[in-house]
Amino acid sequence: MSVQPDRQIADMEGGSALPRKNGELVFDAAWEARVFGMTISMHERQLFAWNEFRDELIDEIGEADRTGSDSTYYERWLEAFEHLLLSKGLISQEELAARLEDFESGRRDDAF
């Protein structure tokens, strides 16, 4: 499959705009790019509409700003993405917690 950038994602404005430098996307760590890629790949498969994710992201950014959180853009993105997956029933809180526990304890170590 060939992926073409989607303007409604690439051109988001305001607080939800993708971080850029010289017009190019900026990822400060590998995990940020992975989370970005996971989100868009699932949107491309029409598992959710982009507006649904963007609304979660805007809510998360608003909430973080209200509480004075120093979280980064992609930390908020990850939070929003997890909310959406849970609210859509695509994953459950239990399996997410169990998988995280597997990684924290070292029982699992799948590489990207």
């Binding site: 499959m1 060939s2 992926v3 073409q4 950038p5 994602i9 690439a10 051109d11 705009a17 850029r20 430098k21 010289n22 017009g23 190019e24 996307l25 990822f27 400060d28 760590a29 590998a30 995990w31 940020e32 790019a33 992975r34 989370v35 970005f36 890629g37 996971m38 868009i40 790949s41 699932m42 491309e44 498969r45 598992l47 930390e75 990850l78 993405f81 997890e82 997956l85 695509l90 994953i91 399996e95 997410l96 998988r99 995280l100 597997d102 990684f103 924290e104 699992r108 170590d109 799948d110 590489a111 990207f112």
Partner: protein, 209 residues
């Protein structure tokens, strides 16, 4: 391209959030909701296709292929279509030792986004939109570009019907570079006309990927 963004997987402690992202990807893959390959493709597509890369390729081609440059200046849209780039109608204006071109959209933020990606915030600001026309030399000075009085400054007003792209001057000392190496020197700002292209790579020192 794979996820070679610089932080390793096993050799040093991983941040809590990175671990959380990895656990989530593992779960989504296991549930068949995504795959590593598609995630790689998405990252690659967005990194390569968004931003000023396409415009930089057009400029580098014009610097290395005189016949293409003639076509580009005569009919910008047709020439960029030769390279596979579409989008709105484009007019290309050439910088020379005696003429410097600057692009603005006085009404809103018309911009050749198929070639340059998303416009920078300052391009959309009221200050730039009004001052670029009234006092272009002062604006250029604020961008760090001091032009001698002998250089004529031409300001072009992009609109929804026609968008302008500046063909910057090829810097001295780049005679031995390939088209691809030249493209890496060309910045967004140079194609808007608020900077010149420097002979050293603008991307040096940035993260890989």
């Amino acid at each position: 391209m794979s996820g070679n963004h610089g932080d390793g997987h096993h050799s040093h402690p991983e941040s809590a959030v990175a671990l959380r992202a990895r656990a989530l990807e593992s779960l989504l893959i296991e549930k068949g909701l995504t795959s590593s390959e598609v995630v790689d493709q998405v990252i690659s597509a967005y990194e390569q296709d968004v931003g000023p890369h396409n415009g930089a390729k057009v400029v580098a081609r014009a610097w290395t292929d005189p016949a293409f440059k003639v076509r580009l200046l005569a009919d910008g849209s047709a020439a960029v279509a030769e390279l596979g780039f579409g989008g709105a109608l484009i007019a290309v204006v050439e910088n020379t030792p005696s003429v410097h071109n600057l692009v603005v959209c006085t009404l809103c933020s018309c911009y050749p986004s198929a070639l340059l990606g998303l416009p920078p915030t300052w391009y959309k600001s009221f200050a730039y939109r009004s001052r670029a026309v009234i006092e272009p030399r002062a604006v250029l000075r604020e961008f760090g570009l001091e032009l001698p009085d002998s250089v004529e400054v031409r300001v072009w007003d992009s609109s929804s019907e026609l968008r302008y792209l500046v063909l910057p001057e090829r810097p001295a000392g780049t005679e031995g570079l390939s088209e691809e190496e030249l493209a890496a020197l060309v910045t967004r700002d140079a194609m808007i006309g608020v900077a010149k292209v420097q002979a050293t790579a603008a991307t040096a020192g940035q993260a890989a990927g």
